[in-house]
């Protein structure tokens, strides 16, 4: 039986798990849906668990004002591969969990800053260079000025 204080959530791959209500309503989406009955979140089980773990951490921290730097716990939490990070990002956006969104965005920003140059950014994120040839020449000169 469903405990009155818990929400049951089903993930994309049909795993069902229970989340305490105070945690679940970190997600604006779930909060909205709390009065409705359904909640099939389109996120796979592993990352959805991840989302709730992070939301739980945030509640435990008593929803402190978000700092500029990720905390130690969050830094470890976000040490995932790029695929999982992407999915966490999309999940946080979909579930509307602000603290998680903030954390993932910071992690992504840190990854970008750690890249030495444009080429490394593209490789890390699997992004293609879609500049026209003329623009590409300008970008090349821009990068050259950047590194003097």
């Amino acid at each position: 039986m469903l405990s009155s204080k818990n929400s049951a959530l089903e993930s994309k791959d049909n795993e069902i798990f229970e989340v305490e209500e105070s945690i679940a309503i970190q997600s604006e989406l779930i909060k909205t849906m709390a009065t409705m009955v359904n909640s099939k979140a389109y996120v796979n089980e592993r990352n959805q668990m991840g989302c709730w773990k992070q939301a739980n951490y945030h509640v435990e921290q008593n929803n402190k004002i978000v700092d500029e730097e990720l905390s130690d716990w969050e830094s470890k939490f976000f040490e995932v591969d790029m695929d999982d990070l992407h999915e966490l990002f999309m999940a946080a956006n979909y579930l509307e969990i602000e603290s998680l969104l903030n954390g993932v965005a910071k992690r992504v920003a840190d990854i970008i800053k750690a890249c030495m140059n444009v080429e490394v950014i593209r490789q890390t994120f699997g992004i293609n260079n879609d500049f026209a040839a003329q623009q590409e020449e300008e970008i090349r000169k821009l990068n050259s000025w950047n590194h003097i």
């Binding site: 849906m33 009955v37 992504v108 920003a109 444009v118 994120f125 992004i127 300008e138 000169k141 000025w145």
Partner: protein, 376 residues
């Protein structure tokens, strides 16, 4: 806290249908950062722009602009003009007016053997010896009837035909009058930058192949002859005189994020010649003059208060303020717009602010090296 599996909640199909569907890529099971929703990408890039505000970290903002078109578009929206943010980000920043609220501190290194000058943005709270962000370089070229300083965005490339050519300073034979030319890259004319100055009257776009005379500088002996400090006057063709007044016209042209493009415009109906300094004023161009030093009886020398930024006496040192003839009266004419002076054997500080740009400031300082008007 343990997360336990439990019985499924009852669901209502109607409600489910009304829910937002996930991103299509997610549904396909693919991970694609290139398809990251714009609002998420925006958040990330905004974080980077806000935290990497000074050099050398600012290079990360520039790098993001070079990744792909969507990143470039977002960075272009996020990065503010130097006059608002006080930050220089892209090469085009050196041709945009400096901050309104404060002087931007730079320094110039001279290499006597190669007759080359290098302009750097000072790093916050660092000694000059710690280096700075390179902005522009200039090399002297003597010609039969004049002298040119070729100004470039690359430290060692002074060829005129390339994207790195920023402009030049030309001196007359006597070294008393100078013209600052704003260079144009061949492609620049083809791209029209978004222009905030469209409300100015008499706009004229310059053809891509010409060098546009954007300022005239003249040096004269003081009324005391060579016993007093020389007098400087700079007529800035592309800057309206009212720009220094609150609510005045803005010389900024918001160029596209083409790193080497500038579209200098003049609100004068025709370009001024070197001898036309008086008509420049009548037509409304900003006129800068050097602040008169005071004679210090005890030290027996002319003194200016450089607020610690200049430490070695030199005839080259100067401070420029707006001439009172631009707009009568007002405290605006006490505000230092450009300050230049010696701090070491081949090291000089250059501090500038709105409404002039780093390029214009650098060119004016170069004329101070070149002019032969001196005082005893």
């Amino acid at each position: 806290m343990a997360i336990k599996c439990i019985a499924r909640l009852r669901s209502r199909r109607v409600v489910q249908d009304q829910l937002q569907t996930p991103n299509e890529v997610e549904a396909e099971g693919g991970c694609c950062w290139a398809n990251l929703p714009q609002e998420l990408l925006w958040e990330v890039l905004l974080m980077i722009e806000e935290t990497e505000s000074i050099w050398p970290q600012r290079k990360n903002v520039v790098a993001c602009a070079g990744v792909c078109r969507s990143w470039r578009f977002i960075i272009q929206q996020i990065v503010k003009l130097p006059q608002l943010s006080g930050k220089l980000t892209f090469p085009i920043s050196v041709k945009q007016p400096g901050p309104k609220d404060s002087l931007l501190q730079c320094f110039i290194k001279r290499n006597r053997s190669t007759q080359t000058y290098y302009l750097y943005l000072g790093l916050t709270n660092s000694a000059l010896s710690d280096g700075g962000k390179f902005l522009l370089a200039a090399r002297k070229c003597r010609r039969p009837t004049c002298t040119d300083y070729i100004i470039s965005l690359q430290a060692e490339d002074f060829s005129k035909g390339t994207n790195t050519y920023a402009g030049r300073l030309r001196s007359n034979f006597l070294g008393t009058k100078f013209t600052v030319f704003d260079g144009q890259s061949p492609q620049a004319g083809a791209k029209m930058g978004k222009s905030r100055s469209s409300r100015l009257a008499n706009l004229r776009q310059v053809s891509p192949s010409s060098n546009y005379p954007m300022a005239h500088i003249s040096y004269e002996l003081n009324l005391l002859g060579s016993r007093g400090p020389r007098r400087m006057q700079c007529n800035m063709n592309t800057i309206p005189a009212t720009s220094i007044a609150p609510g005045g016209l803005d010389p900024t042209t918001q160029a596209e994020l083409n790193p080497y493009q500038s579209t200098p415009t003049s609100f004068l109906s025709k370009s001024a010649s070197m001898e036309n300094s008086v008509s420049d004023q009548k037509n409304g161009g900003l006129v800068l003059i050097n602040k008169a030093p005071r004679w210090h009886e005890q030290l027996q020398c002319w003194c200016l208060n450089f607020h610690g930024r200049v430490t070695i006496a030199s005839v080259k040192n100067f401070q420029l303020v707006a001439s009172p003839e631009n707009e009568p009266g007002g405290p605006e004419h006490e505000k230092i717009i450009l300050q230049f002076g010696k701090v070491g054997k081949d090291l000089f500080t250059m501090d500038y602010r709105y409404p002039i740009s780093a390029f214009q400031a650098f060119a004016i300082c170069l004329s101070s090296f070149e002019t032969r008007i001196a005082c005893e």
